[in-house]
Symmetry: C2
Subunit: 267 residues, 2 copies
């Protein structure tokens, strides 16, 4: 039997961690002295601990690990591992994108000497938004559920014999923004006016084009809103995006293009 300190060194985890795992029931010592409370571990528990540490490095939470340890079905376990690999892949891509962005930021500074105001120089235009007939789906949704909702929309295309125009977008109805759940309508443009859920009439808008991934889209929003305030307009309706070039056109998020529209009126 090993005292907690020895076990800790062998497994390369802290004593506190062992206390914690005992508390949450992830890895209980093989024996606990009933009078002193001292924890004693078996040699065979080293393997179990190593397995836990391995899963932790794979990015699982302790909660998930606990469930995985009780899983008897190996196929299910394999599935979980595969999913985790995909998740890590996405993280990898995300971090790559951020590194590129940061490098771009640094380069801009080195050329211009201006670091605080690193911005994309959005060009704002006043123009009528395009008239669109759309299939729409308005609901409370999270930003990363877009794909799901678009999926259900595109399923309707063959069923209802409509012809997509390729103009797809989303309109944001909430005043308040929330990443997990906002009142959003995703829509795809179609040719057949009579089959549309909604006919979006053209209206006067301030718009700009955002190039790049969606994580910096809010900067485009900011640029448009600033422009509106500075030029004597006011916001006259819920803003929307049109996804001109997206992941289906080009894999690298740096080449995506999104049009951001804010309906406006003169004050």
């Amino acid at each position: 039997m090993l005292q907690i300190g020895e076990f800790s060194r062998i497994c390369q985890v802290s004593v506190k961690t062992l206390h914690h795992y005992d508390k949450i029931g992830l890895l209980a010592p093989a024996e606990v002295d009933r009078f002193t409370g001292y924890r004693y571990y078996q040699i065979s528990q080293i393997d179990e601990m190593n397995y836990i540490q391995r899963l932790k490095r794979y990015g699982f939470s302790l909660d998930e690990i606990q469930r995985m340890l009780t899983l008897s079905d190996d196929k299910e376990l394999l599935n979980v591992l595969r999913q985790q690999k995909e998740k890590l892949r996405r993280e990898q891509q995300e971090i790559t994108a951020v590194v590129n962005e940061l490098q771009a930021h640094i380069s801009v500074y080195e050329r211009t000497g201006d670091i605080m105001t690193y911005q994309k120089g959005y060009v704002i235009e006043v123009k009528n938004s395009p008239a669109m007939n759309v299939l729409g789906n308005r609901a409370m949704m999270g930003v990363d559920e877009f794909g799901k909702y678009y999926g259900t929309l595109f399923e309707r295309v063959p069923k209802e014999r409509v012809t997509p125009t390729g103009l797809n977008g989303a309109r944001y109805y909430d005043e308040e923004f929330n990443h997990e759940s906002s009142d959003i309508e995703v829509f795809i443009g179609i040719k057949e006016k009579e089959k549309a859920d909604t006919v979006i009439e053209p209206c006067e808008c301030a718009m700009t084009i955002h190039r790049g991934g969606y994580s910096t889209l809010s900067e485009a929003y900011g640029a448009v809103v600033s422009w509106i305030a500075e030029n004597g307009y006011e916001i006259a309706g819920a803003p929307f995006d049109l996804y001109i070039k997206n992941q289906f056109d080009t894999p690298s998020s740096e080449d995506w293009e999104t049009e951001v529209y804010f309906p406006i009126r003169k004050k």
Copy 2:
């Protein structure tokens, strides 16, 4: 002036976040109604918020961002950004390594059908550790400070006119393990016995070879300790590693080789 809800939507952050930033003093609203407590933001604060969000995506903590905003020296700021880029690079490498490991794990399962016991099949040998004359540096150090301590050791090589043998390692004196601070002696082997800080005499050891990065080194430890217990030996001293192939030999951590030694005696 914008109410908090509008500001929230434009900047794509939640109201809760704005409350939080106000509380910690990262971004205070331009005006607060003295009677109602309502927060009002200026259009110009959108830019500031976007800048904050950008730095957050770069991986800075709110604390760091706060300090960066008060930094007047652009050169310093640039340095911080460069450091952060290096940090992200390291994270990127780390995650790449984990993905590879996970893929290997999955492949092993697909071949063998055994998932819980994915282990490296360490082969444990009993043999005398090599006799070594070393320059050593024993201190309380964190695991990621090894490089620093090796640096000071290698500086002594030309000064003291000694000849490195290429056998470098570290010995772990603590019973209890702690990632940030443990009692560790890093050492480099040299030819000149009379100039050595310590002469390590050969002793009977259980040893194994660990192939791969250091994050799974604890599994080798576990394998050796299990073997010792199962074969009627006991641990007779502080264990140590010898870094046979490391980052200076080959860039890919999968090809590194580490020998793990535990001094033992028969029970």
